[in-house]
Amino acid sequence: MIIEGAIIYSNLLVLLALGLTLTYITTNVPNFAQGSYAIVGSYVALTLLKLFGICPYLSLPVLFIVGAIVGLLTYLSLKPLIKRNASVEMLMIATLAIDLILLGVIGAYSEVLSQIVGSTQAKFVFANLDFSIFGFRGILFVSTLVVILLLFGLYLLLYKTKFGIALRASMENPSLAQTMGIDVEKTRLFSWILSGALAGVAGGLLPFMQEIVPATGDLIIISIFAASIVGGLRHISGALIGGYIIGISESLITYYLAMAFGAGFLVYGKVVSLIIMIATLLIAPYGITGVDWKKVRKRLFSQ
Protein backbone atom coordinates (compact mmCIF):
# COMPACT_ATOMS: atom_id res chain seq x y z
CA MET A 1 0.00 0.00 0.00
CA ILE A 2 2.86 2.31 0.73
CA ILE A 3 4.21 1.67 -2.77
CA GLU A 4 0.82 2.56 -4.17
CA GLY A 5 0.95 5.90 -2.40
CA ALA A 6 4.51 6.48 -3.58
CA ILE A 7 3.58 5.93 -7.21
CA ILE A 8 0.55 8.20 -7.01
CA TYR A 9 2.60 10.91 -5.38
CA SER A 10 5.37 10.53 -7.96
CA ASN A 11 2.90 10.80 -10.81
CA LEU A 12 1.65 14.10 -9.46
CA LEU A 13 5.18 15.35 -8.88
CA VAL A 14 6.05 14.55 -12.48
CA LEU A 15 3.16 16.70 -13.69
CA LEU A 16 4.26 19.59 -11.52
CA ALA A 17 8.01 19.27 -12.08
CA LEU A 18 7.50 19.04 -15.81
CA GLY A 19 5.78 22.42 -15.82
CA LEU A 20 8.50 23.95 -13.69
CA THR A 21 11.23 22.60 -15.94
CA LEU A 22 9.47 23.73 -19.12
CA THR A 23 9.21 27.33 -18.05
CA TYR A 24 12.72 27.30 -16.64
CA ILE A 25 14.16 26.10 -19.94
CA THR A 26 12.27 28.58 -22.09
CA THR A 27 12.36 31.68 -19.91
CA ASN A 28 15.03 30.99 -17.25
CA VAL A 29 12.61 31.71 -14.44
CA PRO A 30 12.41 29.36 -11.44
CA ASN A 31 8.70 29.60 -10.74
CA PHE A 32 7.96 29.60 -7.03
CA ALA A 33 4.22 29.77 -7.73
CA GLN A 34 4.06 26.33 -9.35
CA GLY A 35 2.72 24.70 -6.16
CA SER A 36 -0.05 27.25 -5.83
CA TYR A 37 -1.12 26.68 -9.44
CA ALA A 38 -2.05 23.17 -8.36
CA ILE A 39 -4.04 24.40 -5.38
CA VAL A 40 -6.01 26.70 -7.64
CA GLY A 41 -6.94 23.54 -9.54
CA SER A 42 -7.84 21.75 -6.32
CA TYR A 43 -10.28 24.47 -5.31
CA VAL A 44 -11.86 24.67 -8.74
CA ALA A 45 -12.40 20.91 -8.58
CA LEU A 46 -13.89 21.31 -5.12
CA THR A 47 -16.23 24.00 -6.38
CA LEU A 48 -17.45 21.88 -9.26
CA LEU A 49 -18.00 19.03 -6.86
CA LYS A 50 -19.85 21.01 -4.23
CA LEU A 51 -21.95 23.18 -6.48
CA PHE A 52 -22.65 20.90 -9.42
CA GLY A 53 -21.86 17.49 -8.03
CA ILE A 54 -19.26 16.84 -10.73
CA CYS A 55 -16.78 14.13 -9.84
CA PRO A 56 -13.25 15.63 -9.69
CA TYR A 57 -12.02 13.12 -12.27
CA LEU A 58 -14.51 14.48 -14.75
CA SER A 59 -13.53 18.06 -14.12
CA LEU A 60 -9.91 17.52 -15.17
CA PRO A 61 -10.43 19.16 -18.59
CA VAL A 62 -11.79 22.26 -16.88
CA LEU A 63 -8.81 22.30 -14.51
CA PHE A 64 -6.50 22.03 -17.51
CA ILE A 65 -8.01 25.20 -18.92
CA VAL A 66 -8.10 27.08 -15.62
CA GLY A 67 -4.47 26.17 -14.96
CA ALA A 68 -3.54 27.30 -18.44
CA ILE A 69 -5.08 30.70 -17.76
CA VAL A 70 -3.19 31.04 -14.47
CA GLY A 71 0.07 30.16 -16.26
CA LEU A 72 -0.66 32.65 -18.99
CA LEU A 73 -1.41 35.43 -16.50
CA THR A 74 1.83 34.70 -14.66
CA TYR A 75 3.84 34.97 -17.84
CA LEU A 76 2.13 38.20 -18.83
CA SER A 77 2.96 39.72 -15.46
CA LEU A 78 6.60 38.61 -15.70
CA LYS A 79 7.00 39.84 -19.25
CA PRO A 80 7.76 43.50 -18.50
CA LEU A 81 10.61 42.33 -16.27
CA ILE A 82 11.94 39.83 -18.80
CA LYS A 83 11.86 42.52 -21.49
CA ARG A 84 13.90 44.80 -19.26
CA ASN A 85 16.48 42.03 -18.76
CA ALA A 86 15.78 41.95 -15.04
CA SER A 87 18.15 39.73 -13.06
CA VAL A 88 17.07 36.23 -12.15
CA GLU A 89 16.84 37.28 -8.48
CA MET A 90 14.22 39.88 -9.39
CA LEU A 91 12.30 37.38 -11.48
CA MET A 92 12.33 34.91 -8.61
CA ILE A 93 11.02 37.59 -6.26
CA ALA A 94 8.31 38.35 -8.80
CA THR A 95 7.17 34.72 -8.83
CA LEU A 96 7.20 34.75 -5.03
CA ALA A 97 4.94 37.80 -5.21
CA ILE A 98 2.63 36.04 -7.65
CA ASP A 99 2.60 33.04 -5.33
CA LEU A 100 1.52 35.29 -2.47
CA ILE A 101 -1.24 36.83 -4.59
CA LEU A 102 -2.46 33.35 -5.50
CA LEU A 103 -2.36 32.33 -1.85
CA GLY A 104 -4.48 35.37 -1.01
CA VAL A 105 -6.94 34.61 -3.77
CA ILE A 106 -7.20 30.92 -2.83
CA GLY A 107 -7.61 31.72 0.86
CA ALA A 108 -10.26 34.33 0.21
CA TYR A 109 -12.02 32.06 -2.22
CA SER A 110 -12.07 29.15 0.23
CA GLU A 111 -14.00 31.30 2.65
CA VAL A 112 -16.39 32.57 0.02
CA LEU A 113 -17.02 28.99 -1.02
CA SER A 114 -17.61 27.99 2.60
CA GLN A 115 -20.31 30.61 2.83
CA ILE A 116 -21.98 29.50 -0.36
CA VAL A 117 -21.88 25.83 0.56
CA GLY A 118 -22.72 26.51 4.15
CA SER A 119 -19.89 24.54 5.73
CA THR A 120 -16.19 25.24 6.09
CA GLN A 121 -14.08 24.37 3.07
CA ALA A 122 -10.73 25.50 4.46
CA LYS A 123 -9.55 21.86 4.49
CA PHE A 124 -10.73 19.07 2.28
CA VAL A 125 -9.93 15.70 0.75
CA PHE A 126 -11.40 13.71 -2.13
CA ALA A 127 -10.14 10.33 -0.96
CA ASN A 128 -13.62 9.29 0.18
CA LEU A 129 -14.95 9.84 -3.35
CA ASP A 130 -12.45 7.51 -4.93
CA PHE A 131 -13.38 4.18 -6.46
CA SER A 132 -11.26 1.09 -6.21
CA ILE A 133 -10.28 -1.72 -8.55
CA PHE A 134 -8.84 -5.02 -7.26
CA GLY A 135 -8.21 -3.33 -3.96
CA PHE A 136 -6.17 -0.53 -5.54
CA ARG A 137 -7.25 3.05 -5.25
CA GLY A 138 -8.69 4.64 -8.38
CA ILE A 139 -6.30 7.56 -8.16
CA LEU A 140 -3.44 5.14 -8.83
CA PHE A 141 -4.91 4.32 -12.24
CA VAL A 142 -6.10 7.81 -13.04
CA SER A 143 -2.84 9.53 -12.15
CA THR A 144 -0.82 6.91 -14.02
CA LEU A 145 -3.13 7.24 -17.00
CA VAL A 146 -2.77 11.02 -16.94
CA VAL A 147 1.02 10.78 -16.88
CA ILE A 148 1.03 8.24 -19.71
CA LEU A 149 -1.35 10.37 -21.75
CA LEU A 150 0.74 13.41 -21.04
CA LEU A 151 3.98 11.74 -22.05
CA PHE A 152 2.38 10.32 -25.16
CA GLY A 153 0.89 13.70 -26.01
CA LEU A 154 4.16 15.46 -25.36
CA TYR A 155 5.97 12.93 -27.50
CA LEU A 156 3.56 13.49 -30.37
CA LEU A 157 3.75 17.22 -29.95
CA LEU A 158 7.51 17.54 -29.61
CA TYR A 159 8.54 14.98 -32.19
CA LYS A 160 5.73 14.82 -34.69
CA THR A 161 4.49 18.36 -35.13
CA LYS A 162 6.12 21.35 -36.71
CA PHE A 163 5.41 23.51 -33.70
CA GLY A 164 6.88 20.89 -31.38
CA ILE A 165 10.11 20.73 -33.33
CA ALA A 166 10.22 24.51 -33.29
CA LEU A 167 9.66 24.39 -29.54
CA ARG A 168 12.59 22.03 -29.05
CA ALA A 169 14.69 24.13 -31.37
CA SER A 170 14.01 27.32 -29.47
CA MET A 171 14.67 25.62 -26.15
CA GLU A 172 18.11 24.58 -27.36
CA ASN A 173 19.15 27.75 -29.12
CA PRO A 174 16.67 30.63 -29.13
CA SER A 175 18.78 32.97 -31.24
CA LEU A 176 19.34 30.38 -33.97
CA ALA A 177 15.63 29.57 -33.85
CA GLN A 178 14.95 33.23 -34.52
CA THR A 179 17.11 33.14 -37.61
CA MET A 180 14.82 30.35 -38.87
CA GLY A 181 11.86 32.67 -38.53
CA ILE A 182 10.51 31.03 -35.38
CA ASP A 183 8.79 33.47 -33.08
CA VAL A 184 10.46 32.48 -29.83
CA GLU A 185 7.94 34.54 -27.90
CA LYS A 186 5.18 32.15 -28.95
CA THR A 187 7.06 29.14 -27.66
CA ARG A 188 7.58 30.86 -24.30
CA LEU A 189 3.90 31.69 -24.05
CA PHE A 190 3.08 28.10 -24.86
CA SER A 191 5.38 26.70 -22.19
CA TRP A 192 3.78 28.85 -19.49
CA ILE A 193 0.30 27.90 -20.59
CA LEU A 194 1.16 24.20 -20.62
CA SER A 195 2.96 24.48 -17.30
CA GLY A 196 -0.11 26.01 -15.68
CA ALA A 197 -2.42 23.50 -17.30
CA LEU A 198 -0.43 20.50 -16.04
CA ALA A 199 -0.34 21.95 -12.55
CA GLY A 200 -4.10 22.52 -12.71
CA VAL A 201 -4.67 18.85 -13.53
CA ALA A 202 -2.27 17.77 -10.78
CA GLY A 203 -4.27 19.97 -8.43
CA GLY A 204 -7.46 18.08 -9.25
CA LEU A 205 -5.78 14.79 -8.33
CA LEU A 206 -3.84 15.93 -5.28
CA PRO A 207 -6.84 15.96 -2.86
CA PHE A 208 -7.21 12.21 -3.46
CA MET A 209 -3.77 11.88 -1.88
CA GLN A 210 -3.61 14.43 0.88
CA GLU A 211 -5.55 17.08 2.72
CA ILE A 212 -5.62 20.43 0.95
CA VAL A 213 -5.47 23.84 2.65
CA PRO A 214 -4.85 27.16 0.91
CA ALA A 215 -1.14 27.05 1.84
CA THR A 216 -0.51 23.50 0.58
CA GLY A 217 1.14 24.92 -2.53
CA ASP A 218 3.87 26.54 -0.50
CA LEU A 219 4.66 23.16 0.98
CA ILE A 220 4.77 21.00 -2.14
CA ILE A 221 6.91 23.55 -3.96
CA ILE A 222 9.94 22.10 -2.16
CA SER A 223 9.28 18.65 -3.56
CA ILE A 224 8.68 20.11 -7.01
CA PHE A 225 11.98 21.96 -7.00
CA ALA A 226 13.73 18.92 -5.59
CA ALA A 227 12.32 16.76 -8.39
CA SER A 228 13.30 19.20 -11.13
CA ILE A 229 16.78 19.83 -9.75
CA VAL A 230 17.56 16.16 -9.11
CA GLY A 231 16.46 15.31 -12.63
CA GLY A 232 18.13 18.35 -14.11
CA LEU A 233 16.46 21.70 -14.76
CA ARG A 234 17.80 21.83 -18.31
CA HIS A 235 16.03 18.77 -19.74
CA ILE A 236 12.36 17.92 -19.94
CA SER A 237 13.16 14.27 -19.25
CA GLY A 238 14.81 15.42 -16.02
CA ALA A 239 11.39 16.21 -14.57
CA LEU A 240 10.24 12.65 -15.27
CA ILE A 241 13.28 11.01 -13.70
CA GLY A 242 13.44 13.47 -10.81
CA GLY A 243 9.69 13.24 -10.17
CA TYR A 244 9.90 9.51 -9.59
CA ILE A 245 13.12 9.63 -7.60
CA ILE A 246 11.82 12.28 -5.24
CA GLY A 247 8.28 10.97 -5.10
CA ILE A 248 9.28 7.42 -4.30
CA SER A 249 12.11 8.22 -1.92
CA GLU A 250 10.10 10.85 -0.09
CA SER A 251 7.32 8.32 0.50
CA LEU A 252 9.40 5.19 1.11
CA ILE A 253 12.25 6.58 3.15
CA THR A 254 9.93 8.43 5.50
CA TYR A 255 7.78 5.34 5.75
CA TYR A 256 10.68 3.14 6.80
CA LEU A 257 12.05 5.80 9.12
CA ALA A 258 8.63 5.96 10.72
CA MET A 259 8.59 2.16 11.08
CA ALA A 260 11.96 2.34 12.80
CA PHE A 261 11.58 5.44 14.93
CA GLY A 262 7.85 5.92 15.35
CA ALA A 263 5.08 7.61 13.43
CA GLY A 264 6.45 11.06 14.20
CA PHE A 265 8.83 10.68 11.30
CA LEU A 266 6.04 10.74 8.74
CA VAL A 267 6.08 14.53 8.73
CA TYR A 268 9.69 14.69 7.60
CA GLY A 269 9.06 13.78 3.98
CA LYS A 270 10.16 17.20 2.80
CA VAL A 271 13.41 16.86 4.70
CA VAL A 272 14.21 13.71 2.73
CA SER A 273 13.59 15.57 -0.55
CA LEU A 274 15.75 18.40 0.64
CA ILE A 275 18.65 16.13 1.53
CA ILE A 276 18.49 14.36 -1.83
CA MET A 277 18.35 17.72 -3.58
CA ILE A 278 21.35 19.07 -1.70
CA ALA A 279 23.32 15.89 -2.31
CA THR A 280 22.57 16.23 -6.03
CA LEU A 281 23.64 19.85 -6.07
CA LEU A 282 26.94 18.95 -4.45
CA ILE A 283 27.73 15.96 -6.66
CA ALA A 284 26.08 16.89 -9.96
CA PRO A 285 24.88 20.50 -9.91
CA TYR A 286 23.00 20.11 -13.20
CA GLY A 287 21.10 17.02 -12.12
CA ILE A 288 21.05 13.51 -13.50
CA THR A 289 20.33 14.54 -17.07
CA GLY A 290 23.02 17.19 -16.89
CA VAL A 291 25.81 14.75 -16.12
CA ASP A 292 28.32 14.16 -18.89
CA TRP A 293 28.13 10.36 -18.64
CA LYS A 294 30.87 9.88 -21.20
CA LYS A 295 33.29 11.78 -19.03
CA VAL A 296 32.20 9.86 -15.94
CA ARG A 297 32.76 6.55 -17.72
CA LYS A 298 36.15 7.72 -18.93
CA ARG A 299 37.15 8.67 -15.43
CA LEU A 300 35.89 5.41 -13.95
CA PHE A 301 37.75 3.31 -16.48
CA SER A 302 40.97 5.24 -16.31
CA GLN A 303 41.28 4.58 -12.60
Partner: protein
Protein backbone atom coordinates in the same frame (compact mmCIF):
# COMPACT_ATOMS: atom_id res chain seq x y z
CA UNK B 1 21.64 46.52 -65.70
CA UNK B 2 22.98 45.75 -62.24
CA UNK B 3 20.24 45.10 -59.73
CA UNK B 4 21.41 45.99 -56.26
CA UNK B 5 20.15 43.56 -53.71
CA UNK B 6 21.37 45.11 -50.48
CA UNK B 7 22.80 48.55 -50.01
CA UNK B 8 24.43 49.59 -46.77
CA UNK B 9 24.74 53.28 -46.00
CA UNK B 10 26.92 54.84 -43.28
CA UNK B 11 26.41 51.97 -40.90
CA UNK B 12 27.67 52.32 -37.31
CA UNK B 13 27.11 49.36 -35.03
CA UNK B 14 28.49 47.33 -32.15
CA UNK B 15 27.69 45.49 -28.94
CA UNK B 16 26.25 47.67 -26.21
CA UNK B 17 28.78 50.41 -25.81
CA UNK B 18 31.55 48.77 -27.82
CA UNK B 19 31.39 50.19 -31.32
CA UNK B 20 32.85 47.72 -33.81
CA UNK B 21 31.73 49.05 -37.19
CA UNK B 22 32.47 52.59 -38.32
CA UNK B 23 30.68 54.22 -41.24
CA UNK B 24 30.41 51.18 -43.45
CA UNK B 25 29.19 51.69 -47.02
CA UNK B 26 28.79 48.61 -49.16
CA UNK B 27 26.53 46.89 -51.65
CA UNK B 28 25.68 43.30 -52.40
CA UNK B 29 24.66 42.49 -55.96
CA UNK B 30 21.98 40.03 -56.93
CA UNK B 31 23.08 36.58 -58.00
CA UNK B 32 26.70 37.19 -57.14
CA UNK B 33 29.08 36.16 -54.43
CA UNK B 34 30.34 39.09 -52.40
CA UNK B 35 33.09 38.30 -49.95
CA UNK B 36 34.20 40.29 -46.94
CA UNK B 37 37.76 39.60 -45.84
CA UNK B 38 39.98 41.18 -43.22
CA UNK B 39 42.10 40.32 -40.22
CA UNK B 40 40.67 39.05 -36.98
CA UNK B 41 38.77 41.66 -35.08
CA UNK B 42 38.21 43.76 -38.18
CA UNK B 43 34.46 43.50 -37.66
CA UNK B 44 33.59 41.27 -40.60
CA UNK B 45 31.53 38.78 -38.58
CA UNK B 46 29.92 41.65 -36.72
CA UNK B 47 28.99 43.05 -40.11
CA UNK B 48 26.93 39.97 -40.96
CA UNK B 49 25.33 39.90 -37.52
CA UNK B 50 24.44 43.55 -37.92
CA UNK B 51 22.80 42.99 -41.28
CA UNK B 52 20.68 40.29 -39.69
CA UNK B 53 19.76 42.44 -36.70
CA UNK B 54 21.74 40.73 -33.96
CA UNK B 55 23.78 43.75 -32.83
CA UNK B 56 23.04 47.28 -31.84
CA UNK B 57 22.83 49.73 -34.72
CA UNK B 58 23.68 53.29 -33.71
CA UNK B 59 23.04 54.87 -37.09
CA UNK B 60 22.91 54.13 -40.79
CA UNK B 61 20.64 52.30 -43.21
CA UNK B 62 20.37 48.83 -44.64
CA UNK B 63 18.32 49.01 -47.81
CA UNK B 64 16.87 45.73 -49.02
CA UNK B 65 14.42 45.73 -51.95
CA UNK B 66 14.02 49.49 -51.55
CA UNK B 67 13.18 49.27 -47.87
CA UNK B 68 15.28 50.22 -44.86
CA UNK B 69 15.45 47.06 -42.79
CA UNK B 70 17.98 48.30 -40.24
CA UNK B 71 15.54 47.89 -37.38
CA UNK B 72 13.54 44.84 -38.46
CA UNK B 73 13.84 42.05 -35.84
CA UNK B 74 15.69 38.88 -36.91
CA UNK B 75 12.75 36.50 -37.04
CA UNK B 76 11.01 38.80 -39.48
CA UNK B 77 14.12 39.05 -41.63
CA UNK B 78 13.95 35.29 -41.98
CA UNK B 79 10.54 35.82 -43.56
CA UNK B 80 12.00 38.37 -46.00
CA UNK B 81 14.03 35.60 -47.61
CA UNK B 82 17.27 36.51 -45.92
CA UNK B 83 19.16 33.60 -44.39
CA UNK B 84 22.06 33.94 -42.01
CA UNK B 85 24.43 31.16 -41.00
CA UNK B 86 26.37 31.81 -37.83
CA UNK B 87 29.90 30.46 -37.62
CA UNK B 88 29.28 28.17 -34.66
CA UNK B 89 26.11 26.67 -33.20
CA UNK B 90 24.47 26.87 -36.60
CA UNK B 91 22.49 23.65 -36.26
CA UNK B 92 20.25 22.34 -33.46
CA UNK B 93 22.35 19.65 -31.81
CA UNK B 94 19.44 17.92 -30.05
CA UNK B 95 17.39 17.64 -33.24
CA UNK B 96 17.93 15.05 -35.97
CA UNK B 97 19.25 16.06 -39.37
CA UNK B 98 15.78 15.64 -40.81
CA UNK B 99 14.19 17.75 -38.09
CA UNK B 100 16.83 20.40 -38.63
CA UNK B 101 15.97 20.56 -42.31
CA UNK B 102 12.26 20.71 -41.50
CA UNK B 103 12.67 23.47 -38.99
CA UNK B 104 14.67 25.45 -41.52
CA UNK B 105 11.51 25.56 -43.60
CA UNK B 106 9.45 26.79 -40.66
CA UNK B 107 8.02 29.77 -42.53
CA UNK B 108 7.14 27.80 -45.68
CA UNK B 109 4.08 25.67 -46.34
CA UNK B 110 4.31 21.90 -46.10
CA UNK B 111 4.62 20.96 -49.79
CA UNK B 112 7.15 23.69 -50.35
CA UNK B 113 9.28 22.39 -47.47
CA UNK B 114 9.28 18.90 -48.98
CA UNK B 115 10.31 20.28 -52.32
CA UNK B 116 13.07 22.40 -50.81
CA UNK B 117 14.43 19.53 -48.71
CA UNK B 118 14.61 17.49 -51.90
CA UNK B 119 16.63 20.27 -53.54
CA UNK B 120 18.91 20.63 -50.52
CA UNK B 121 19.58 16.90 -50.47
CA UNK B 122 20.47 17.01 -54.15
CA UNK B 123 23.12 19.61 -53.53
CA UNK B 124 24.23 17.89 -50.31
CA UNK B 125 23.78 14.17 -51.01
CA UNK B 126 26.12 13.54 -48.08
CA UNK B 127 23.16 14.18 -45.77
CA UNK B 128 20.89 11.51 -47.26
CA UNK B 129 22.31 8.65 -45.21
CA UNK B 130 22.32 10.45 -41.90
CA UNK B 131 18.82 11.91 -41.81
CA UNK B 132 17.94 10.19 -38.53
CA UNK B 133 21.11 11.09 -36.68
CA UNK B 134 21.18 13.83 -34.09
CA UNK B 135 23.02 16.85 -35.41
CA UNK B 136 25.12 16.94 -32.25
CA UNK B 137 26.82 13.71 -33.29
CA UNK B 138 27.92 14.91 -36.74
CA UNK B 139 31.46 15.74 -37.78
CA UNK B 140 32.45 19.33 -38.46
CA UNK B 141 32.09 18.95 -42.22
CA UNK B 142 28.73 17.21 -42.00
CA UNK B 143 27.49 19.90 -39.68
CA UNK B 144 28.51 22.59 -42.14
CA UNK B 145 26.76 20.73 -44.97
CA UNK B 146 23.66 20.54 -42.84
CA UNK B 147 23.80 24.22 -41.97
CA UNK B 148 24.12 25.16 -45.62
CA UNK B 149 21.44 22.67 -46.57
CA UNK B 150 19.17 24.33 -44.04
CA UNK B 151 19.85 27.67 -45.66
CA UNK B 152 18.81 26.21 -49.00
CA UNK B 153 15.60 24.79 -47.55
CA UNK B 154 14.62 28.25 -46.46
CA UNK B 155 14.24 29.27 -50.08
CA UNK B 156 16.11 32.43 -49.30
CA UNK B 157 17.24 34.93 -51.91
CA UNK B 158 20.16 36.15 -49.88
CA UNK B 159 22.51 33.84 -48.05
CA UNK B 160 24.90 35.25 -45.47
CA UNK B 161 27.64 32.82 -44.48
CA UNK B 162 29.97 33.46 -41.57
CA UNK B 163 33.27 31.61 -42.09
CA UNK B 164 31.77 28.37 -43.36
CA UNK B 165 35.20 26.75 -43.73
CA UNK B 166 36.54 27.64 -40.28
CA UNK B 167 38.19 24.67 -38.59
CA UNK B 168 37.69 22.38 -41.57
CA UNK B 169 40.45 20.54 -43.38
CA UNK B 170 41.63 22.18 -46.63
CA UNK B 171 40.05 19.36 -48.60
CA UNK B 172 36.64 19.85 -46.97
CA UNK B 173 36.97 23.61 -47.29
CA UNK B 174 37.43 23.08 -51.01
CA UNK B 175 34.21 21.04 -51.16
CA UNK B 176 32.34 23.77 -49.28
CA UNK B 177 33.58 26.44 -51.67
CA UNK B 178 32.42 24.24 -54.54
CA UNK B 179 28.95 24.01 -53.02
CA UNK B 180 28.78 27.77 -52.57
CA UNK B 181 29.51 28.29 -56.26
CA UNK B 182 26.97 25.60 -57.11
CA UNK B 183 24.30 27.37 -55.07
CA UNK B 184 24.93 30.61 -56.89
CA UNK B 185 24.95 29.05 -60.34
CA UNK B 186 22.04 26.64 -59.88
CA UNK B 187 19.65 28.88 -57.98
CA UNK B 188 20.93 32.35 -58.66
CA UNK B 189 21.36 32.91 -54.94
CA UNK B 190 22.88 36.12 -53.74
CA UNK B 191 25.66 35.20 -51.38
CA UNK B 192 27.44 37.34 -48.83
CA UNK B 193 30.46 35.49 -47.51
CA UNK B 194 32.78 36.28 -44.64
CA UNK B 195 35.99 34.30 -44.80
CA UNK B 196 39.24 33.88 -42.98
CA UNK B 197 40.51 31.92 -45.95
CA UNK B 198 40.66 35.14 -47.93
CA UNK B 199 42.55 34.08 -51.01
CA UNK B 200 40.51 31.02 -51.82
CA UNK B 201 37.24 32.76 -51.00
CA UNK B 202 38.02 35.66 -53.30
CA UNK B 203 38.95 33.28 -56.09
CA UNK B 204 35.36 32.04 -56.22
CA UNK B 205 33.80 35.45 -55.60
CA UNK B 206 32.59 38.22 -57.85
CA UNK B 207 33.09 41.19 -55.55
CA UNK B 208 34.98 41.81 -52.37
CA UNK B 209 35.47 44.12 -49.44
CA UNK B 210 38.53 44.35 -47.22
CA UNK B 211 37.70 45.39 -43.67
CA UNK B 212 40.34 46.74 -41.32
CA UNK B 213 39.55 47.94 -37.79
CA UNK B 214 35.84 48.14 -38.47
CA UNK B 215 36.19 50.20 -41.63
CA UNK B 216 36.24 49.42 -45.33
CA UNK B 217 39.90 49.53 -46.36
CA UNK B 218 39.22 48.91 -50.03
CA UNK B 219 36.63 47.35 -52.28
CA UNK B 220 36.27 46.17 -55.85
CA UNK B 221 35.96 43.05 -57.88
CA UNK B 222 37.40 39.97 -56.28
CA UNK B 223 40.29 40.09 -58.71
CA UNK B 224 41.09 43.71 -57.89
CA UNK B 225 41.23 42.82 -54.22
CA UNK B 226 43.50 39.85 -54.75
CA UNK B 227 45.92 41.97 -56.72
CA UNK B 228 45.85 44.93 -54.39
CA UNK B 229 49.35 45.86 -53.31
CA UNK B 230 48.50 45.89 -49.61
CA UNK B 231 46.34 42.75 -49.68
CA UNK B 232 48.75 40.64 -47.66
CA UNK B 233 49.62 43.28 -45.08
CA UNK B 234 45.97 44.07 -44.49
CA UNK B 235 44.96 40.43 -44.28
CA UNK B 236 47.52 39.84 -41.58
CA UNK B 237 46.48 43.06 -39.97
CA UNK B 238 50.05 44.36 -39.89
CA UNK B 239 49.41 47.69 -41.54
CA UNK B 240 47.14 50.32 -40.12
CA UNK B 241 44.64 52.17 -42.27
Amino acid sequence: MVIRMIKIKNLNAGYGKLQILFDINAKVEKGKITTVVGPNGSGKSTFLKTLFGLTKIYSGEIIFNNKNIAHVPPHQKARMKIAYLPQTNNVFADLTVEENLKIAGYVLDKDKVKERIEIALNIFPELKNILKRKAGTLSGGQRQFLAMGMALVRDAEVLMLDEPTAQLSPKLAEVIFGKIVEMRDEFGLTILLVEQNAKRALEISDNGYMFVSGKVAFEGTAEELLNHEKFKEYSLGITAL
